[in-house]
Every structure is written in structure tokens, then in C-alpha cells.
């Protein structure tokens, strides 16, 4: 990020950094705080979870293992990307808890480095890394979800502020956020519905903004409906220009879906992996024999191994440009669809491996792995719905990569 990826890396420095990171995470990871941790940043549902995860992110940042590749002047480490990648690997190796400030770290941060003003970068980036400022995203509305361009929340200019009225929904971390990236309508739609949208960096803890928690299918909390009743946002908190919000929102979604790099580092979700499922298949029995001896089950297990390898290899593809010349954005734009659908399917499969115990849920002492699999399956829909549904992803690939006419 910020040009630092181009800097030459001294392998010795890098190795020393990696070793230090490894030692630090070994020392500092606390996987079991005595209460259930969320699987992703979207299920931060209790104050206990929130404070624990915020402190964790802050601690990693202070140690230099988050934002290592963001520019120094904005609170980053100013190092080449390879250093952050090593820190992230170490975090994963030691099973560090997730970072909760995903919307800041992965979407807003890179967006501001890309399209924000120097003043905005100076004001916001450090707080994103330190987790002092939690961010949320106000895109979806009750009546306009996939059809984001049709958003109707109004922002009317009045003197040196915009007065915002309307409602956003499914606001992840809405309860805790200090700021929101907000897409609102500053002009009634012109010829195209996308005209007249503006992208704001909106304060949440002000008069006229109210959040109401929504309970998820898993029973957890994590997102809110957010109401704006003549809330006043300072007029200089716009990214880009008034009326130019659609372009900024689309760029944000590219960061959100991982189709564009520059994220601060670490990870914001933990998932099931095929090896854990395999372990379970070894333990479980069917008809008195290990489940893994069932040929039908073996065949499905192999399918998952191939899929997991497909995803892993495709994540490496961006490094091999001669293999991407025909449709340069194809693999990157397919990533979200592939990963989220895989996660949904493998968790579903894992529940069936639980046998009769598939009936238990989080909270019962007999639940397999504390109910991880059922909870993970239900939570997996956050990936296939949030950030643009799988159907919308297929439209995007079909239209933007394959050049098919719009549906």
C-alpha cells in the first residue's frame, strides 16, 4: 500500500521481523477468554466480546503487527507489504482472535488511502488501526439492498452541514461504531438512479442518530437498524465530490470483496477448514464403523479438498499475470462467491457428520465442538448475502468479466 510494496525487501530484515512476530503472537494470543468469541466481525454481540476484541486489536497494533504496510505519517509502519503478510501469517499460526474493526481496516482505510483527502487520512487512519474508532457501513436500506443505487436516505445541504434523514439497515457494529461510511442521496435521481448519491464519513454519536439491535438467525447480535432524524453531518466529511458517491461506493465494495488490495492486515473472520472436517469424519461413527469408511462420504470429502485447493490456488493467481491476460479481473471478482459458497457448503456437510449430535446447538454441553458447526453454517450466510449476494456476484461476473448484457 501507499507505494511501499515497491520497496525492495531485505530478506534478512523480513526474516527477523517474521521471527519476532511469531514470538509475539505465541506469547500474547489468548484464545479462550472464558466466554464465546464471535466467528466474524459481524457477530460482535456482547459488550464483553467487544471490549476484549478491541483491546486485542489495539495491542497488536501497538506491537507493530497491524497496519505495518500503511504509511507512517498516518500511524502505519511504513514497511513493505511482505512484512504485514508475515505478521498476518504469525497471527493465523497462533490462532489469534479476529480483528473487529473490519470496516475500518479493510474497506474504509484502503479507500481513504486511495480516494480520501490528506486531511481525512490524517484524521481517521490511526484511529482505525488502534481500534479507538470503530467503523460501520450505511449502504443497505430496508427497501433497497441489492439495488444499492436506489438508496433513498436523504442528505440536504444546510449551511456548513448536511441534514440526514432516513434509515439504514443490517448495520454491522452499528451499536459500537463512532463513524459510518454512509451513502445518501443529495439530489433526487436524474436520468440514472446512481446520480445524486454522495459518500459521507458520518459521525454516529450525534443527535438524530439512533441504532436498534437486530437479532440474527443464530441468536446472536451484531447488526442494527440505524435511524437518521435530521442528523447533521459536517459538510467537509465527503469522500470525492457531492453527487459522486456511487463511484466511491463501488470502489469500497471492491475492497470489501477483496477484489482490490491495501487492507491493513490480519483477519476479521475465522472459518471451518477441510482438515478439521476431516478430523471429525475420522472420529464419528456410522453403523459402528468410522464415518470415513463410507464411500459416499469419502467422495464428498474429496470434493471439499479439491474446492479448498481451488480457492487456495486462485488466491495465488494474482501473482502470475501471464495466466490472467484474457480476463484480468475474473479470478479476483470470483473470490467472494467461491469462498462464501464453499464455507456454507462445508459447514452444512459437517453438521451431517455430527450424526444425531447435529441436533445440539451452542450452549449444550453435548454439542460437538461447542456447537461450532451449526453456528458456522448459519453464520456462513453472512458471506453469501452480505457485501452483495451470490446472485449479485454472478451478475457482476457475467456482466463485467464476461461482457453479457445486463439482466
Amino acid at each position: 500500500m501507499g507505494g511501499s510494496t515497491l520497496t525492495d525487501v531485505d530478506p534478512k530484515d523480513l526474516q527477523a521481523f517474521a521471527e519476532a512476530a511469531d514470538a509475539w503472537f505465541r506469547e500474547n494470543v489468548n484464545r479462550d477468554p472464558g466466554f464465546m468469541l464471535p466467528l466474524t466481525f459481524m457477530e460482535v454481540g456482547t459488550d464483553q466480546q467487544f471490549h476484549f476484541l478491541r483491546d486485542w486489536q489495539n495491542k497488536v497494533y501497538e506491537a507493530g503487527y497491524l497496519g505495518a504496510a500503511w504509511p507512517k505519517e498516518y500511524g502505519g509502519g511504513g514497511l513493505p507489504q511482505a512484512f504485514q503478510a508475515e505478521a498476518t501469517r504469525a497471527m493465523r499460526r497462533h490462532g489469534g482472535p479476529i480483528f473487529l474493526n473490519a470496516i475500518g481496516l479493510n474497506w474504509t482505510g484502503p479507500l481513504l488511502l486511495d480516494m480520501g483527502s490528506p486531511a481525512q487520512r490524517a484524521k481517521y487512519l490511526k484511529g482505525i488501526l488502534s481500534a479507538e474508532d470503530i467503523w460501520c457501513q450505511g449502504f443497505s436500506e430496508p427497501e433497497n439492498g441489492s439495488d444499492l443505487g436506489n438508496a433513498q436516505t436523504r442528505a440536504v445541504r444546510d449551511d456548513d452541514s448536511y441534514v440526514v434523514t432516513g434509515s439504514k439497515i443490517w448495520t454491522t457494529l452499528g451499536k459500537y461504531a463512532r463513524y459510518m461510511i454512509l451513502l445518501a442521496r443529495t439530489q433526487p435521481p436524474g436520468d440514472r438512479k446512481y446520480d445524486g448519491l454522495t459518500f459521507f464519513l458520518a459521525p454516529m454519536k450525534i443527535d438524530g442518530v439512533e441504532t436498534r439491535p437486530i437479532k440474527k438467525l443464530t441468536g446472536e447480535h451484531g447488526f442494527t437498524q440505524t435511524f437518521f432524524r435530521e442528523a447533521r453531518i459536517p459538510a467537509d466529511e465527503i469522500v470525492g465530490v457531492e453527487g459522486g458517491g456511487w463511484k466511491v461506493a463501488m470502489r469500497t465494495l471492491e475492497y470489501e470483496r477483496g477484489a482490490r488490495g491495501g487492507q491493513a492486515g490480519g483477519y476479521v473472520a475465522v472459518g471451518s477448514n477441510a482438515w478439521d472436517v476431516l478430523e471429525m469424519a475420522r472420529k464419528m461413527t456410522r453403523g459402528g464403523k468410522p464415518a470415513l469408511e463410507d464411500p459416499a462420504l469419502r467422495a464428498r470429502m474429496v470434493d471439499f479438498m479439491i474446492d479448498i485447493q481451488s480457492n487456495a490456488l486462485c488466491s495465488q493467481r494474482s501473482g502470475f499475470s501471464p495466466l490472467n491476460t484474457d480476463r484480468p479481473t475474473g479470478v479476483a471478482l470470483s473470490g467472494k462467491l467461491m469462498h462464501s459458497e464453499f464455507s456454507r457448503r462445508i459447514n452444512e456437510f459437517a453438521i451431517s457428520l455430527n450424526g444425531a449430535h447435529g441436533a445440539y446447538y451452542v450452549g449444550d454441553p453435548n454439542a460437538v465442538d461447542g456447537g461450532w458447526w451449526t453456528r458456522s453454517y448459519l453464520n456462513a450466510f453472512s458471506g453469501t448475502i452480505g457485501g452483495g449476494t451470490s446472485q449479485i456476484q454472478r451478475n457482476i461476473i457475467g456482466e463485467h468479466v464476461l461482457g453479457l448484457p445486463k439482466s
Binding site: 476431516l278 467422495a299 479439491i306 485447493q309 495466466l323 479470478v331 453479457l404 448484457p405
Partner: protein, 374 residues
Amino acid sequence: MQELGRLGFSEDQGSLLEVATSFCAKRSPMARVRQLIEDGIGHDPDVWREIVELGWLGIAIPEAYGGAGLQLAEVVPVMEQMGRYMLAGPFYSTTLAAQAILAGGTEDQKRTLLPRLAEGSITTLALCEANGDWDLANITCTATATGSGALRLSGEKRLVSDAASASTIIASVMLEGRPALVLIDRAALGPDALRREVIIDETKRACSLSLDGVEVPAANLLDQDRAGAALHHIHLTANLLAAAEMCGGTQSVIDYTLDYLKTRVQFGQLIGAYQALKHPIVDAYVSYEQTRSHVYSAAHCFGEQGVGEIATRMAKAQADTTLSFAADRAIQFHGGFGFTYDCDAQLYRRRAIWHASQYGDAAWHKAKLADLLL
């Protein structure tokens, strides 16, 4: 936890990919593919000569034996582009035969034969039998030593690719109860030994081969101690190259179908706007990109013990699944035209059936993977 393969791509792969793409596009436009279907030997000897001059037959043959000394990884982009443009010819057969000699030949045989193969002497393998078994060690054809020291062969081989244009055929047989590979000079075969077979992929050629009454000198026996290992190497190589050829084919059948979805109008709009067609073709495309990642990963890791075999089987399984699906949908999405011989969709569907039937389909490789991974 079993280690899985990684992606890798060499500079040589890059330049071969570039050259092969433009060569195959130029030498094998679809009209030419269609013409060669009607042709007896099924390929253009002039194009074959050009391929030989480009040095592609020697890519994976060591320099000591007259080749370029690169790896099978570098053959993969060539094979992929041949598959993309359906360029016909005995490249696959001859490359595979060279690998058989490398893995199972004596030093003498390598010295004499490999330079000839690198110079385009068409050579093929006769492995399949009436049992149709993908396990190449399940052999019933036999070789028996005669009094004069020669080997007398018997039995029938099937689906011998490019046998009619080959100068040498390498057959698997049982000799004294153990697998063996023997070289057969095609000139030594009787007039009825080869029968051209009617096969599903009309761009390819195959024969059945009767070994009854064929005698070869003892010097034609490959190193019998290495026959088992050679058969395993042939099996994996065949699947790597087939996966590459299928991967290229998948790209073009998707492109072919996309053209139709962007030009055919029904109910007042381009049919590509219907999600009933758009979403499955996206699925085929995403699956194609995954296949390509698997193929190049298998190419890169091919020589690594364990990892190479897993990556290769994954690549073939994925290539089979993907090309079969993409070509199946290609027929459907062309409507009534898709049902015709003129529509190219059938060529790809037939290609997929051919490769699934040779050296193992997706289900079979997955069964093997289950044993390796679980």
C-alpha cells in the same frame, strides 16, 4: 495433514504460452479442424513439421538425449493451447511415449530413440485392453521369449492413439508374470494388425492393435525392472497433459457460447440477459479459472513426490468436471442449433467424453485421491 500443491509459473512457460497461443490460433481455425475430421490421418503433416521445428517434441527431453532439457511443466501451456484451438496431431502421443522411454527405457534405448522422437518420429503407447481398466498394470497381453531370443507377443490392444501414423508403438505386456514394455516397429506389423476405431472425438485417431503373431527382437524390451514405475509415470503424465488440453478446450467452449448469448435474441432481448443462462455460464467460467489454477499447479509440482500425484489427479478431476459441464451447457444454450452437427458445442462435449474415458475420469481420480488424502 497432507501437503497440497502450490502455483508456480516459469519464464519458459510464459514464452511457450505466448508462442503456442498464436501458432495454434493461426494453424487451427475451426474450419480447418472440421476439414481434418474428414481426413484419413486426421492431422496436417506440414503443421506437424512446423511443430517439430519449433522444438516442442523435445521440450521435456533432457539435452543429453537431443531435447531442450525443460520439464513437463513447459509442455503444459503448449498442450493447453492445442486444446483451446483443437489442433489435431500426434503431439500428445509422442510426448507421452518419450516419457515412457525416459521412465522405463534402457540407457541405450534413450540414446537412440529419444533424439528421433524429438525430431518428430511419431510414437505412441498401446496400453488399453478389452477390460477397459484404467489401472495400467491390469494387463493380459503377453510376451514370450522364443528360442532365438526374440519376443513373441499376443493379445489385443485398444484405443491406441495415432497408431496409423506412428512409426513406433510401445505396448504393455506381461512377461514371465510381470509387466513389461516393448517397442514395436510399425513396419513389422502385418496389414491387418491395425483397425481404425470409430471414436467419440472425431478430431482424434485411434486403432485397435492385434499383437498375435508379432515378434520383436529382445533388444526392444524396455527395462523390465522399471516397468511398474514407468506405467505410473505414464499414467500421471497422460492425465496432466489431458487436463491441460481440456482446460484449453473449456476456455474456448465458454467463449463460443458467450458469443451466442451476446448475439441471439429471443423475446426481444439477448438471451445472455436471462439469468437462467447467465448464472450457469458464470459457474462454468469460475470453474474454468479454478481448473486452470489446478493445471498449472500440477505442472509446477509434478515432480514432487506425493504432492505431484495429488495435484495431477485434482487437475484431471477438475478438468473433467468443468469441461463436461461447460460443453453440456453449451449444447443446451444453443437451443435447436446446439443439437446440430454444425454447432461446435458437440466437438467439445465429445472431447470431454474422450478424455474422461482415457486414464480415468473425475470419479476415479477422486477415489484415488480419497486413498491419498483421507
